[in-house]
Amino acid sequence: MSKRENLLNKKLKVINLGIQTFAEDLKKQGVEVVHVDWRPPAGGDVEILKLLDKLEEGADSPSRNYLKKPTSKQ
């Protein structure tokens, strides 16, 4: 079963980022919901955010993992 079928065949469980009333409306309908106290990341600086995301993506890449290996053995 692919994940989008999970949406229809399982109980709806929601994480809400942004407008809080959406989470409140879901709770009124008996839905389990976690509201995230979201703030613009990196102080809202989109350029810094792009750089941070690049670093983060690098951390997931194979070459980065390779570099990590020796440190994990220490």
Binding site: K3, T21, F22, Q29, W38
Partner: protein, 524 residues
Amino acid sequence: MAVKVIVRKDTYRDSVTLMKISNKVAELKGVLQAAVVMATPTNKQLLKDVKLLTDESKTAGPNDLVIALNTENQESMNNAISEVDRLLFAREAVEVEEVLPKTLDSALHTMPDANLVMISVPGEFAKREALRAIRKGLNVFLFSSNVPIEEELELKKISREKGLLMMGPDCGTAIINNIVLGFGNIVNQGPIGVISASGTGLQQVSTLIHREGLGISQAIGTGGNDLSEKIGGITMIEGIKLLKEDKKTQAIVLISKPPSPQVSEKVLKVASRCKKQIVVNFLGGELDEIREKGCIAATTLEDAAKTVCALVQGKKPEKTIFTIPKRRIMSIVNAESSKLSKMQKYVRGLFSGGTLCYEALVVLAPLIGDVYSNVPLKPNYKLEDMNVSKKHTCIDMGSEEFTVGRPHPMIDFTLRKRRIVQEAKDPETAVVLLDVVLGYGAHQNPAAELVPSIADAKTVAEQNGRFLSVVASIVGTPEDPQDLRKQQRKFKEAGVIVMPSSAQATRIAALIATRGAVEEKLFG
């Protein structure tokens, strides 16, 4: 007069919370202008346009709150500032009751088995959050607007690869297993699936299905750009595949403005392979192409709802012009039009739902000819000044030019109220045509806002020796928080002709304005 701009560093609030605060403060005595906004580049430009961008607010960032106030005097200014603070802190007091996670990752620790992420952060951050959700294997409902189309395409392609459903960006509503997401109505659960590129289109169809005694299995919002050439209908196509396998769904309705021929071909090809019956309403689009692909073509949102209801009940679909007997309709038309003066000739539609406005243009064109609008069917009928109506006019008051720096007209009625009275002052206005949208997310009591302005408008007409006809339709159900029946009653008591659907409201408005001259065109 007093003007003050205050910056509150690191005080983030979501857009709906700020809309509510701005509205409440603007209503205070002596307040001429009030804007409580985050210092995003867009909002700073807006402040600059109204000459309220100070040096301090110029350097503020999206995490900083700007309070810009223009009041009659210092006393009103002090009152307004303390009210803003009170409302901001009232929010905080609620929030401290529980410790909320700060990121998607930490929310997933609390709810590892989440299957949907709703995102309504400002557009410039939307892709980042949506991408994180998709990488975690989560389906997404992306409410945020102003997401560049390239980003939308990237998100939709990755979701498709991962077998996830990506609704939006700019997705206003969806219904999953009887749960309403975003702006939507409380409707019965039932055998009909809906996939819609339009939020109000989805609301109109789902509420009319509910009123027919049937219900919705799933309603998927795709976002308004999904059927554009660039996106190619990715979410609509994935939605059809999903509902094809959904055991609760017997028949499917597809709703959109007319897509480009290539996208239409692609979507209809997938639809034709689905063994379930598919009703298609590409508003004002070609019907033959839909029929050639083995789908059922509907001309209006109501037609789509009625047709799909007939099909699942094994009945033959019938064309609906009015659900009230013709004799009764013509008696209402005669009663209203007999009171009009000779100069009163035109329909003035003031809509909060973009698709309902578009549908009105489509319905009116064959009856009374092309209609002026800010979103016309033909470019040469675009209003030179969107604030001044010309001949027959229908305005989408939810379009960008009316909502920059302002809440949507389903929440904030200020501009529509003003415009209703303005239309009444025009000696050529015969009928004011309105839509009212109920449900989660919408205003708690639209009648309380609109009825006094309708009364004012009728008085203005009367003082000038005229009668103003007002026609409305209400999208909603008796189960909605606002209660459809209560709302209908309040509008009727104010002398408004309340019709069961937006298409029917539009048709009766045309009949009244033309003194029944379009009767034959309508009824044949």
